[in-house]
């Protein structure tokens, strides 16, 4: 892909706000710098603005104020389609195309990018292996897969054209606890291998501590605290304490 790493931060939010119909502010004056190769976890309760923040990065939403800079270039200067092709996007339950086979789902972006058929085929096989699925899953339809398998395919699809960025929106949220734990462990290994710049949205504190290079806590559209795992675990910020407490009393179950 046409992507040349440089010294600029991977993603920057400069005084970014997003409001719906100019009335309700979903994200307010967000300032955030995400470094190359790090996994930034956006943590927060439902409606705190974390998913909105994620969608601002790949321009599914347009900020109403402020500026977002990806790879040293303001979003307004990017060709939106090119931008999205270098940003893998994983959503809850995969968002797979139900009328495409697993192979076609994974191979769609490479196909649009004009890869030759054999290269796509090899890439699909390689990716299925990477996410722990057997190659013969390629011929099946999403409806014939389990939730865990669909989620794996979702990750494989996002990685298809080897994008340097990855956006993940509660990718393991809809899974049963056992499958979730399994996928989390595998993703941790994958994360160490791939070294991509990842923005990961979750409401699960344990997941945040597991994956995050840094954790950003959001509340009511604002960034209330940001820091490394260690800083986060020691923080005395009232919101962070409240979040930790909520998890402790519930035995870690969100």
């Amino acid at each position: 892909m046409e992507f040349t790493p440089n010294d600029a931060p991977a993603i920057e939010f400069r005084h970014v706000s997003y409001s719906l119909n100019n009335t309700h502010e979903l994200v307010r004056d967000l300032n955030l710098t995400i470094s190359r190769g790090e996994t930034l976890v956006l943590l927060g309760r439902s409606g705190s603005g974390k998913t909105t923040t994620l969608k601002l990065v790949n321009h599914l939403l347009t900020p109403s104020a402020g500026e977002i800079v990806v790879d040293g270039r303001p979003l307004t200067e990017w060709d939106v389609i090119r931008l999205r092709r270098i940003i893998g996007y994983v959503i809850q339950e995969g968002g797979l195309f139900p009328h495409f086979t697993v192979g076609s789902n994974i191979g769609l972006v490479p196909k649009i990018e004009g890869w030759p058929a054999t290269r796509i085929e090899n890439r699909v096989r390689e990716l299925l292996q990477l996410v722990g699925l057997s190659p013969d899953v390629a011929g099946r339809y999403p409806s014939q897969l389990s939730g865990g398998q669909r989620q794996r395919v979702g990750v494989a699809r996002a990685l298809a054209a080897d994008p340097p960025f990855l956006l993940m929106d509660e990718p393991f949220g809809a899974l049963d606890p056992l499958t979730r734990a399994e996928l989390q462990t595998e993703f941790l290994a994958l994360q160490n291998r791939l070294r991509k710049t990842i923005v990961f949205v979750t409401h699960d504190l344990r997941e945040a501590l597991l994956f995050g290079t840094r954790i950003a806590l959001m509340e009511a559209g604002q960034l209330v605290a940001i820091g490394t795992k260690e800083e986060f675990e020691k923080s005395t910020h009232p919101f962070v304490v409240a979040y930790r407490e909520a998890f402790r009393t519930q035995g870690g179950q969100p």
């Binding site: 790949n58 599914l60 939106v80 389609i81 090119r82 931008l83 999205r84 092709r85 940003i87 996007y89 959503i91 809850q92 339950e93 995969g94 968002g95 797979l96 195309f97 139900p98 009328h99 769609l108 972006v109 649009i112 339809y141 409806s143 979702g154 699809r157 996002a158 956006l167």
Partner: protein, 210 residues
């Protein structure tokens, strides 16, 4: 003479009128698909057009068919041949179910799937042809099915302006107060509507995504 004897005796004419009827319905349905589907897609892209376009199609549907055929008579080129006129009217009548179903079918596609596609960097055109239209196809075919069945019935009225078709028998039978003649027009028309319904229903199920 009962209806079957009548149809047997006039089988060539029955066939002729049936073919005429098929022509009216077939051409008008094809035209309405060619106009209605793009319009249906269009109003999902420009929601502001939703009301005026669906509203117009709605109003057209409320015009009584006999009056509509009459209205169109003075139109240039169209009005000079009854079958053109009938095809135009039938096309306009079929637009509403087509526009509405195309629009509803596309809007009914799982928003998560559409967003995933957009997030992957599909262009609007790619999203439409690779994702939205294939997933909306079942609903669009359902619209074509409704439109076709309505057209088969409405086309019988086209005989009133001399456009031919199975309505000839119905109007002739009414004038002669002869039920056999009326039925000779009504039975093939009903059979045609049923066949279209079953056939397109089958296609609808086959093309609906699992």
């Amino acid at each position: 003479m009962n209806v079957w004897q009548f149809m047997l005796q006039n089988r060539l004419e029955v066939l002729d009128l049936t073919l005429e009827h098929l022509w009216l319905v077939g051409v008008s349905t094809l035209l309405s698909v060619l106009i209605g589907v793009p319009l249906g897609i269009w109003i999902t892209r420009w929601p502001g057009l939703n009301k005026p376009i669906l509203g117009t199609a709605n109003v057209i549907q409320t015009i009584p068919s006999l009056a509509f055929f009459g209205f169109l008579l003075p139109a240039p080129w169209i009005g000079t041949r009854a079958d053109r006129l009938a095809i135009l009217a039938l096309t306009l009548y079929a637009l509403l179910p087509l526009i509405r179903n195309t629009c509803a079918g596309i809007k009914g596609v799982d928003p998560a799937v559409v967003e995933a596609g957009r997030g992957m960097g599909l262009t609007d055109r790619q999203l439409l042809f690779q994702v939205e239209l294939p997933l909306a196809l079942g609903v669009i075919i359902a619209g074509i099915r409704v439109a076709t069945v309505i057209s088969v019935g409405l086309a019988t009225i086209a005989a009133a302006i001399g456009a031919g078709g199975l309505g000839e028998y119905i109007f002739r039978g009414l004038a002669m107060v002869n039920n056999s003649v009326i039925l000779a027009g009504a039975i093939p028309a009903a059979a045609m509507a049923l066949l279209a319904d079953v056939g397109l229903g089958w296609l609808e199920r086959k093309l609906s995504p699992n």
